[in-house]
């Protein structure tokens, strides 16, 4: 009998930076389900709840299938050529009147490397500006900025496999079992097999409950805590003297700085008792191999970059870096945020972190791309929105991001986008951001395209098309290539994703030794992969640091920009729920995930709840100096008293109406992890 159309496509989960292998079951042209892949090196037959429900995200019912043009406040379907023409006319007019820096592009950390490469190339060649950014700004730009100063590279120093090789796991300001579940699961399993677990977090996370030691520090006191730990380490002689001698610089300045952080003072600032500080310092420094992982609890502060530097100081003085099983590992949020950074979807760097304003790099890319490289510094995404409000920025393309929901201070973003002359949104579904657009272009989803994602352990993995895109939808690099041509640039006419990859690998030293054929062989390769390391690199900084010596940089504790006061007496922190992802536009299509958490929620400690007569389910109004939202209460002692938490996935109760736009001075990272709010009970009829 005839061959039934049923297949399983080996690809990568689209949700988080862990990069699990998934098999998409395809029946008659639709994805009907998901199978885990036992031999995948990262996921080893496991998936988390998001991975298991990823088939739902591909339901075509609410997909955008044709270009849409807004007329009199309403969208109408249009042909590609009509939509393109509108964009071309508008962009050309803006460029003529205001210059190229009035234009910009926001790439997407969910898109493939090929898409991100095309996006930054489009900005730099076609638009003629370094105004290119993506959402790493709101997750891990401080990691890149901090670790590049201290070590020379902002990525995870180890591989995920090192979790099983460590003697101690330190989980610092992140919640891996909820946000990087399979990796978090591997941590639980390692602990079951005898590895010690130390958690530093203001919240009693799942891992905190399982931990051998949990330091429940006050919100925003990371640097004080770390300086305190280093102080204890020095006073007990627990530092690794040989390592400091041979591989670090600037030790004296650090010694002087941390002398100002004696245990008693640190206990006062952080709320962590002295004996726990002592125990943690000993555990960390005396373990043979410590795998340290950190997340947004470190980066999403005005002190984000300094927080990262402090962590780096701690690993350097104890020599807990540069060996198997020990190192410093930022857990990146979105599936391809590592790749989006690698590809140079950032204003200050070309692909492979080659400086955008450096003359040699400019010449290299100018020659390769056959164009003039812009000389002026590029804007970050917040820079672009601020300039838009100032009337100096008029045209923007947003690829598959939803800044209206995910960015801090929603009102600011919305007003900025509305102020633009031309907003083009390339999207799968009608997001809150897409609603504000002038033109929407339909994009292909992860299961509809070939390409690569780079996971948090720097593993570049093949993504394979399982089904065709619905309607007229196309991949980002195709769309940008066609637009480029209409705007007079011929250098983006690729026949397929592989051709894009070959071009980017040639220009990105970290990827130079990679090709689709090589990626095929062994479930991907970890960068750097080049002539010197043809099989990729599992461990960074083993003989020496990327920058040579590891730099110790003394940093001081600073309070969050906004602290509770009599008007706004509670701290608000934002969190993620592991059922959901980002703005929820994909995960919320699953009836099961949607059922798990039907509407936005506020987590509050029983003491605070009692004071305000709040019970589980009480409807609340939460307000900050920037806005207010209504949502319902969940009473839990997972938080310390005085702090409330809100997940940011829900457009019905967007926590980012409340959060502060105060920024990290280095990276412009907004302070999403702490702001002051007040809470009132709403009387319901």
């Amino acid at each position: 009998m005839s061959n039934p159309s049923k297949k399983v496509i080996n690809t990568i989960c689209p949700y988080c930076g862990v990069g699990c292998g998934i098999g998409l079951q395809v029946s008659d042209g639709t994805v009907t389900g998901v199978e885990p892949l036992p031999q995948h090196p990262v996921s080893q037959g496991m998936l988390c709840v998001k991975g298991w429900s990823s088939a739902f995200a591909l339901d075509p019912y609410d997909r955008i299938k044709t270009p849409l043009i807004k007329e009199n406040g309403h969208f109408r379907p249009a042909s590609w050529s009509e939509a393109y023409q509108l964009i071309v006319d508008s962009f050309q007019a803006i460029k003529q009147e205001h210059g190229p820096n009035a234009l910009g592009l926001i790439a997407c950390a969910r898109a493939t490397n090929e898409d991100c490469y095309a996006a930054q190339k489009f900005a730099r060649t076609v638009l003629g500006t370094h105004n290119i950014d993506h959402c790493a700004r709101i997750c891990h730009s401080p990691s890149v900025a901090g670790l590049r100063q201290t070590l020379g590279s902002g990525a995870m120093t180890n591989s995920i496999d090192d979790i099983e090789k460590a003697d101690l796991l330190v989980i610092f300001g992140c919640d891996p079992t909820e946000n990087h579940s399979v990796l978090g699961g591997r941590m639980i399993q390692a602990q079951q097999a005898g590895t010690k677990l130390l958690v530093v977090d203001p919240r009693k996370t799942r891992l905190a409950k399982l931990a051998d030691l949990h330091l429940q520090l006050n919100l925003g006191t990371n640097i004080a805590l770390i300086n305190g730990l280093i102080n204890i380490i020095f006073s007990n002689g627990w530092e690794d003297k040989t390592f400091i001698e041979e591989r670090c610089e600037n030790i004296d300045a650090l010694r002087k700085k941390v002398a100002g952080y004696p245990p008693k003072r640190v206990a006062e600032i952080t709320g962590v008792p002295v004996d726990q500080l002592h125990a943690a310092a000993k555990m960390y420094s005396q373990s043979e191999r410590t795998f340290l992982a950190y997340g947004m609890g470190i980066t999403q502060y005005t002190s984000g970059t300094n927080n990262v530097i402090a962590i780096s100081n701690l690993t350097l003085v104890t020599g807990q870096i540069g060996r198997e099983g020990t190192g410093i590992n930022p857990l990146r949020g979105q599936n391809n945020v590592q790749g989006a950074c690698d590809m140079g979807a950032l204003p200050n760097v070309f692909p492979g972190y080659q400086e955008a304003l450096d003359a040699t790099s400019q010449e290299k890319f100018g020659t390769a791309w056959k164009c003039e490289i812009p000389q002026q510094k590029g804007l970050t995404s917040l820079g672009m929105t601020s300039e838009a409000l100032n009337g100096r920025f008029q045209g923007m393309i947003i690829m598959g991001e939803d800044p209206v929901v995910t960015d801090p201070d929603q009102n600011h973003v919305l007003r900025a986008l509305e102020a633009l002359d031309m907003l083009v949104v390339v999207e799968l579904v009608m997001t809150e951001t897409a609603k504000v657009a002038d033109v929407i272009l339909p994009a292909a989803a992860f299961a509809e395209k070939d390409g690569t994602f780079t996971n948090c352990e720097r593993r570049v993995q093949r993504v394979r098309a399982a089904i065709p895109p619905p309607g007229d939808a196309k991949t980002d690099w195709q769309i940008l290539g066609e637009l480029a041509k209409l705007l007079g640039y011929d250098g983006m006419q690729w026949p397929n994703a592989e051709a894009v990859f070959d071009e980017l690998a040639q220009l990105t030293p970290l990827y130079q030794g990679m090709s689709y054929d090589k990626l095929e062989l062994d479930n991907g390769l970890q960068w750097p992969c080049n002539d010197a390391t043809p099989d990729g690199t599992k461990l960074l900084h083993s003989g020496q640091f990327s920058r040579g010596k590891g730099r110790l940089i003394p940093v001081d504790h600073t309070d969050p920009a906004e602290m509770p006061d009599s008007d706004y007496p509670l701290y608000l922190t934002t969190t993620r729920l592991h059922y959901h992802y980002g703005c929820g536009s994909m995960t919320r299509k699953s009836p099961l995930l949607e059922r798990e958490t039907p509407s936005g929620v506020l987590f509050i400690h029983p003491d605070d709840a009692r004071k305000l007569s709040i019970q589980a389910g009480t409807l609340l109004r939460i307000s900050s100096r920037r806005g207010e939202v209504e949502t319902r209460a969940v009473v839990t002692d997972d938080l310390p008293p005085g702090t409330v938490a809100m997940p940011y996935h829900f457009k019905e109760a967007p926590s980012n109406l409340l959060t502060n736009t105060a920024q990290d001075p280095v990276t412009k990272m907004p302070e999403l992890k702490a702001c002051a709010v007040k809470i009132e009970v709403v009387t319901e009829q």
């Binding site: 061959n3 297949k7 009907t32 199978e35 298991w52 399979v182 592991h578």
Partner: protein, 341 residues
């Protein structure tokens, strides 16, 4: 029933392929993992004496798909959408998975969607001559040799030849025109003997036995369940891969463009989800992860269900152990129950 001597698996396969769609566990490009896939060309997996590897995803979805259309509503009337399934053969099932299908047959005995698929399906089972990794079918009476009545055709390796046992009416009909010679008389008895020998090759199962005992005697405290429950990341992997899990939920999706038309689908549910049993009022009889975990394992190993289904809900495949990110699949949890009593 009579049994036959089959000298070539190829012949049987091609014979069945004339009038059936053939499915078999196979690997896919970029990986050596096995998946159930169409197999138009002939037996691809290695059967016989070599070590058996179970596909991590069982054949459950052929009969009870992960998502299934139940009906359409066109604004006026409800239109039932029973699946139309062409005759198909699942070739290469192991005994454990066959026991699971027999279990599902009972659960779904009145479900017209399941029955439509089931009636079109021939099950070809193979005896396992060596244990697979993580399997413990012999502990829960689900293998290693195919149980009578669980398959349509049973294949048992005999050197380069095969003992073919038609185990149902449908199986017998399917091979009638092959005109196979009868198998040597002593092969059936030898098979019985060999089963006991293979069963002895499995690693120790004391933890499973202890765990089953503790679950049935209810000697596991709520705190112990709660401690274990902390490790459940509610991924739904165990229930998705468990070949006997059958819970589903329904949901409606609006049909594109039109306003008051929709389709209702059902999809696999998981009893580990917090909202699985949550009522509209917000009340939840199994609010704690520990309670949900307890319920899950109760359903797999309680003697209560033996009365109803004639066997435990667990068929000993070990898939939950392989997929559970929290480290509380069947072996891990039973070891903890053994250790932490």
């Amino acid at each position: 029933m009579k049994s036959y001597l089959l000298d070539s698996l190829e012949n049987l396969f091609q014979h069945l392929a004339v009038s059936h769609k053939m499915f078999e566990p196979q690997s896919i490009p970029g990986s050596e993992d096995l998946h159930w896939l169409p197999s138009p060309k002939g037996p691809t997996s290695r059967y016989g004496t070599s070590k058996q590897v179970l596909p991590l995803a069982p054949a459950k979805g052929f009969l009870f798909p992960e998502r299934e259309l139940l009906f359409r509503f066109d604004g006026q009337t409800f239109i039932e959408t029973l699946p139309e399934v062409a005759p198909q053969v699942l070739f290469g099932l192991q005994s454990c998975d066959l026991c699971a299908i027999a279990y599902q047959d009972q659960f779904f005995r009145q479900d017209s969607y399941y029955l439509a698929r089931r009636k079109a399906t021939i099950l070809v089972g193979f005896d396992c001559l060596t244990p697979c990794d993580g399997g413990f079918c012999s502990t829960v009476d689900a293998g290693p040799f195919v149980r009578d009545g669980s398959a349509d055709l049973i294949l048992h390796p005999k050197g380069n030849e095969w003992l073919l046992i038609p185990a149902s009416e449908q199986g017998l009909n399917a091979i009638q025109t092959l005109n196979l010679p009868p198998a040597p008389a002593e092969w059936r008895a030898e098979r019985e003997q060999q089963q006991a020998e293979v069963a002895k090759m499995f690693p120790t199962d004391s933890h499973i036995r202890t765990g089953i005992e503790r679950i049935n005697q209810a000697t596991i405290s709520a705190e112990q369940w709660q401690r274990l429950g902390l490790q459940c990341l509610t991924c739904s992997g165990c229930t998705s891969l468990c070949p006997t899990c059958s819970c589903f939920t329904t949901f409606d999706t609006k049909t594109e463009g039109e306003s008051n038309t929709f389709v209702r689908e059902r999809c696999w549910d998981s009893c580990l989800y917090e909202a699985f049993q949550r009522e509209t009022s917000g009340h939840n009889p199994s609010k704690e992860a520990g309670e949900r975990l307890q319920r899950y394992w109760f359903h797999k190993f309680s003697d209560h269900y033996v009365d109803e289904f004639g066997r435990y809900g667990c068929i000993g495949c070990g898939r939950c152990e392989e997929t559970c990110p929290g480290g509380i699949g069947v072996h891990s949890i039973m070891r903890r129950l053994e250790k932490e009593s």
